[in-house]
């Protein structure tokens, strides 16, 4: 029973990790906290769901639709909410406030579109196949999710560390000023980063929608709050940190829901954040204290 819960925790946690990966990527490269990331996630889930319901598309098309929608919304967010501020070199406070504004708008539209209803994927959207291994019940969906997350993470790492575009992204992350001097135009690079981050969130949205089989306009907020916990525990801007902390939080959460109660689970998650932030503010994989000395409003 314990092992079963741990497996469930790993599956949910890897999706959390996927979501937090995009969030931490934005922080590592653009040094912003995108408070609208939860809404991007939610819109990804909506896009996947509508692809299945309205177009009768197979599930992999739904995943692609979710990724595309998430990526595009994220790029639009960059243009509307962040680019004007970046041009003026505003403090991070401004970026947080304007992304909260964007979040409110995205949420309100989703509420209007879905009529505040909890939407569900059709029953046969994903085939229900259950394997029994050593007395543990493992669903095909869970295997697919873990496989997808592994593929996504490896291709992201490959992209960032083995391609020219990835090199440019890392150069801009190091210093936008210096990369400009080296002849890199930060505009398209930022666009790419926002697209990747949004696509990861959109994919996580479809996956979470499938796992819990519910899509609702408020589904982004708890995930965003959890992503804070994950990236702080893992270390801001750290890719392995986001993944490992995501798994950890997933396991802690499922275990405390199963053995203590769903209400207390939330408190435990945030208490663990508090403990980490006090004992080791840079997180488990935080490299420097540079991120701590960010500009203030």
């Amino acid at each position: 029973m314990l092992m079963q819960q741990v497996i469930n925790g790993i599956v949910v946690g890897s999706v959390y990790g996927l979501f937090a990966l995009g969030f931490t990527l934005l922080f590592g490269i653009n040094h912003i906290m995108n408070m609208a990331h939860g809404s991007v996630f939610m819109w990804g889930a909506f896009a996947g769901l509508y692809a299945v319901i309205a177009l009768d598309a197979p599930i992999y098309v739904a995943l692609l639709a979710g990724m595309l929608a998430g990526g595009l919304i994220s790029v639009v967010l960059d243009f509307v909410a962040f680019r004007p501020l970046r041009r003026r070199n505003s403090p991070e406070f401004s970026a947080i406030v304007s992304s909260i504004g964007a979040d409110l708008v995205l949420l309100a539209i989703a509420q209007k579109v879905s009529n505040t209803a909890i939407l569900r994927f059709p029953f046969d959207a994903f085939p229900v196949v259950i394997f029994t291994v050593l007395g543990l019940r493992i669903q095909l969906l869970q295997l697919v999710i873990i496989g997808l997350v592994v593929v996504m993470v490896f291709s992201l790492v490959w992209y960032l560390y083995r391609t020219g575009s990835g090199q440019r992204i890392r150069a801009v992350a190091y210093s936008e000023q210096t990369s400009r001097l080296l002849g890199i135009n930060p505009g398209p690079v930022n666009m790419q980063v926002f697209f990747i981050s949004g696509a990861l969130a959109g994919m996580a949205g479809v996956l979470i929608g499938l796992v819990f089989n519910s899509v609702h306009f408020t589904m982004g907020e708890p995930l965003l709050l959890r992503a804070f916990v994950i990236i702080i525990i893992g270390g801001l801007g750290s890719i392995p940190g986001a993944l490992i902390a995501g798994m950890l939080i997933g396991i802690v959460q499922t275990l405390s829901v199963a053995y203590i109660g769903s209400g207390v689970a939330e408190a435990i998650v945030f208490l663990s954040l508090f403990i980490v932030i006090v004992l080791r503010p840079t997180g488990l994989f935080g490299q420097t204290t540079a991120a701590m000395r960010v500009q203030r409003a």
Binding site: L85, R88, S94, V97, G101, L104, F274, I277, A297
Partner: protein
């Protein structure tokens, strides 16, 4: 009278929101990026509501207890917070809000869980709220005007400069944070005893966003910013009932537009513009009149001397002359620099 009756609850709400905005303003002014106001408000509201309904305390004592609860919580939270910066402070205070919220939702025996506490006697009237509001505004203004406020301004602008001036950053930030907690606790207690019921969802993400929005909209370096923001954002949804469905859209767009185009907030921008105008008037030779201190010959002369001490050779003769008859000053380097800076 009819008008008053219709808008009385709105007015009460506005006054409570003003206290909340003040609580958010004071930490932001100190350069602490705290989102904890919602959590302290929840503590104050629940503390006083439980004492009134379950222990039968008189409301005044219960509200004082709410303030004490907010103060205590912020004093405790200030200790770990002093080690953190920027985004980390935001996330830590956010975690605090979430912990308080899940406490109010899950401590069933004390807080009734998601149902909230209802049947709180309506014991705080508009008069009391106005009185308390005026008192708090007065206190905050006077606090901000003297050395404490100036220290906060320096810390917000540049901590290194603050340290080099001998200003203790943790000391001031901790005090600002504790004042913020006390004000939020007060607002919570007043909210509980001026409305009939409270629920955990009253103090969640929405309240956090609303409080932040008020301060951002109004301006976060003067008290007037917080007040203007609270008034506008409380009144706006009521005045535009037609847009009730699009309330969040309007609020979100407003936040984005203000932070992009008016980063200092409405009230702060206006105040800065007025100050700018005045200074420019004082520096522009063609406008040198006694307008600034029309009834005070001595001060007006002193003012001009201070502005350009190097421009005159003999300062004693300049001091005795009527400022209006002074020859136009040479456009010295420092003068040009100041002018450019203002523009």
């Amino acid at each position: 009278m009819n008008f008053l009756a219709t808008y009385q609850s709105l007015f009460d709400h506005m006054l409570v929101n003003m206290l909340l905005a003040m609580s958010q303003y004071i930490v932001l002014r100190a350069g602490v990026f705290s989102l904890g106001t919602a959590g302290f408000t929840a503590l104050g509201a629940y503390g006083s509501a439980i004492l009134i309904t379950k222990a039968g305390w008189p409301p005044a004592f219960a509200i004082v207890f709410g303030v004490a609860l907010g103060t205590l919580a912020s004093a405790l939270l200030a200790l770990p917070l002093a080690r953190l910066r920027g985004v980390f402070q935001a996330v830590a205070t956010l975690a605090f809000v979430q912990i308080v919220l899940s406490g109010t939702q899950n401590w069933q025996s004390l807080t009734n869980g998601a149902l909230g506490i209802s049947g709180i006697p309506h014991s705080v009237g508009t008069g009391t709220l106005v009185l308390i509001g005026a008192l708090v505004v007065g206190l905050t203004v006077s606090l901000g005007r003297y050395s404490f406020g100036r220290a906060l301004d320096v810390i917000r602008e540049d901590e290194t400069v603050a340290v080099s001036l001998g200003i203790s950053v943790p000391w001031h930030q901790r005090r600002a944070f504790i004042i913020s907690g006390a004000l939020a606790g007060l607002a919570g207690g007043l909210h509980a005893s001026s409305s009939y019921s409270i629920m955990p969802t009253d103090y969640g993400f929405a309240l956090m966003v609303a409080t932040l929005a008020m301060v951002v909209l109004g301006g976060r370096t003067t008290v007037w910013g917080a007040i203007v923001g609270a008034i506008v954002l409380t009144a706006l949804p009521e005045l535009f009932r037609v847009f009730a469905q699009y309330r969040n859209v309007v609020q979100g767009l407003l936040l984005m537009l203000v932070i992009v185009y008016l980063p200092r907030g409405v009230a702060d921008t206006l105040i800065a513009m007025a100050r700018d105008r005045r200074l420019r008037g004082a520096l522009n030779p063609s406008q040198w009149t006694n307008e600034e201190f029309p009834h005070d010959e001595e001060r007006s002369r002193h003012h001009y001397q201070r502005r350009r001490p190097a421009a005159r050779g003999d300062h004693r003769s300049a001091a005795s002359a009527d400022p209006r008859e002074l020859p136009a000053p040479r456009h010295s380097r420092s003068h040009g620099r100041v002018g450019r800076h203002l523009r």
